[in-house]
Symmetry: C2
Subunit: 339 residues, 2 copies
């Protein structure tokens, strides 16, 4: 491995000069810079990151923590997309990205500890948010730079996070259904433990109330994320004497399952039941019918969180921030006007 000394020797300068050339230090003559760079190229020199990290006390690397992958949630196209967003800014800032590999909560926690204590990364992005999460608490206690994608469960005002206004989105998309004449509207969401779900549901409830519509608990369904494609949810729904005419579903992937189950039961979407959902992943365009869904700009969610995290790592006393990514509703074919 060719090192800084070799380059120094080859170009007839000292190692420190070479170091300065690497950093493009303005106090070095263009002439010597050229000379040195030529030598670097000839020898095929590339600075060693570990050595550099050691002295710089920074790795220019960001850790990205995925939720524990015990469940199938990870197959949600949401994740590749958010990784793309994160990757984009990380790349352009010349950082690198270290992805969590643990499957259980326990594994993930020990991994984060390694990342933090071992100075693997300068900051961490949490792709989930759980009540009383060990990782979050740990990061806070150690005053380590991190951001959460989504809404933190505790200490919301003390944790930098990037999120959508899920309440408003839930309200608006429900409102859309109401505008189309629907009155019996049910909500199907994932785990109650997720803030996204609850916020969207709260928006749904508010829209109903504001329209003077009845809000009944029978219409609020929570299905284990993705579980058997929402079969029970649909069965339950169909068993109701007052069948809803429209559904607000909190995730496109769940919608896909619902769609299948509905069709199985011979119920047409949007003919018999209208459906709206959230996220606007690629899927929602190719399902039949194509979904009317709120585009939460997943890519942007990732990009912004990376951006703000990097700022934080570079300036420890950046204020706590809360970034709200705007959403917009994509109208497609899963809603029908009720006359």
């Amino acid at each position: 491995m060719v090192n800084i000394k070799d380059v120094a020797k080859a170009s007839g300068v000292s190692p420190s000069t070479v170091s300065r050339v690497i950093a493009d230090n303005p106090r070095i003559t263009e002439e010597t810079k050229k000379k040195v760079r030529k030598a670097m190229k000839q020898l095929g020199y590339h600075p060693n990151i570990s050595a550099r990290n050691l002295v710089a006390k920074s790795t220019k690397a960001i850790g990205v923590i995925m939720p524990s992958s015990a469940n199938t949630a990870l197959q949600n196209p949401f994740f590749p997309e958010i990784l793309r967003g994160i990757g984009s800014v990380i790349h352009h800032m010349q950082y690198s990205m270290s992805l969590s590999t643990g499957e259980t909560e326990e594994e993930i926690f020990s991994e984060v500890k390694r990342m933090v204590f071992g100075s693997y990364v300068d900051g961490v992005i949490l792709l989930y948010s759980r009540i009383n999460d060990r990782v979050t608490n740990f990061l806070r206690k150690n005053d380590f730079p991190f951001v959460i994608v989504g809404k933190p469960h505790d200490h919301e005002t003390e944790i930098t996070h990037v999120d959508n206004d899920n309440f408003k989105a839930g309200k608006e998309i429900t409102r859309h259904l109401i505008d189309k004449g629907h009155e019996k509207i049910a909500f199907i969401g994932g785990s109650r433990e997720l803030f996204v779900t609850m916020d969207r549901e709260a928006g749904y409830v508010t829209a109903l109330e504001e329209a003077g519509l009845e809000v009944c608990d029978e219409y609020k369904i929570h299905t284990e994320f993705l579980k058997s494609g929402g079969r029970e949810a649909v069965e339950y729904l169909l068993s109701l004497e007052m069948r809803p005419t429209a559904l607000v579903v909190s995730d496109d992937l769940i919608s896909l399952g619902i769609l299948g189950r509905l069709e199985e039961a011979g119920i047409k979407v949007p003919g018999d039941i209208s459906l709206v959902s959230f996220n606007n992943v690629y899927l929602s365009e190719i399902t039949r019918p194509a979904l009317t869904t709120v585009d939460v700009q997943i890519y942007e969610l990732g990009a912004q969180s990376a951006k703000i995290l990097i700022e934080k790592t570079q300036n420890k006393d950046e204020p706590v921030k809360r970034i709200i990514i705007p959403y917009n509703i994509v109208y497609r074919d899963s809603v029908m006007e009720l006359k």
Copy 2:
């Protein structure tokens, strides 16, 4: 930041002893080990990775390179799943995983260079395989440990890779259709540039030939991966005077699109047309109908590639290997017997 010296001082031994305790060197008394460990805990000591990497000349990190994400291919649930597989073994080997962040081919290439030259990682996993790929050539030229998931386009016998027997799988799944009485079977695949596609297609062709069925070019369709959910593919198919009664589709996600377009056209699956596909991602279970598909064991593909790569990094002259992950066909509801 508390370092090895502090621990040494606090426990009344030398730094090297502490170092040995960390490595659990058997030549150290249990007694002193205890003493030192206690001090480590008290001080909250954790070894600094960069320093260790510097002397060890190894980072215990693996780079994972995704295909350029200009297209939507990345939204394929295939990727999160293979990352899980890779992550699993990486985690248990106490390695870490660095994910590529570039979007274009160019960006990715420069990133790989950084990884390799900067000693960011000990080895690289390529999640794609392209003809005359710069990254592959670069890695080969520099004799840097890497493995390809899928079949290398060039120098197949010189590149360690892990793959399925896509030819055989293609043949077998087509055979299944034939056994069910189908004779007019079309193939819908992604880009011709991908070996997976071509191998599966070759298997399809062979099955047809072996059964004495006619192989006609009109039945071989290649659609830009995912493009508008395979709309043209379906339109084209329906325009044929000899409409196929069954479809072999090279990817579950494409199948989803096809399913939608077919239904749009009022064609029932499997009633009017049967369909089989590949990968067995979560989707294929919740579509309607659920897909008969070949499970290529994505997770295993990832896990094995990580395993063999780590072996390679630890022993530079591991022989070139080729690992074939067995597939198995999952029979669901998208095929109907033709009488």
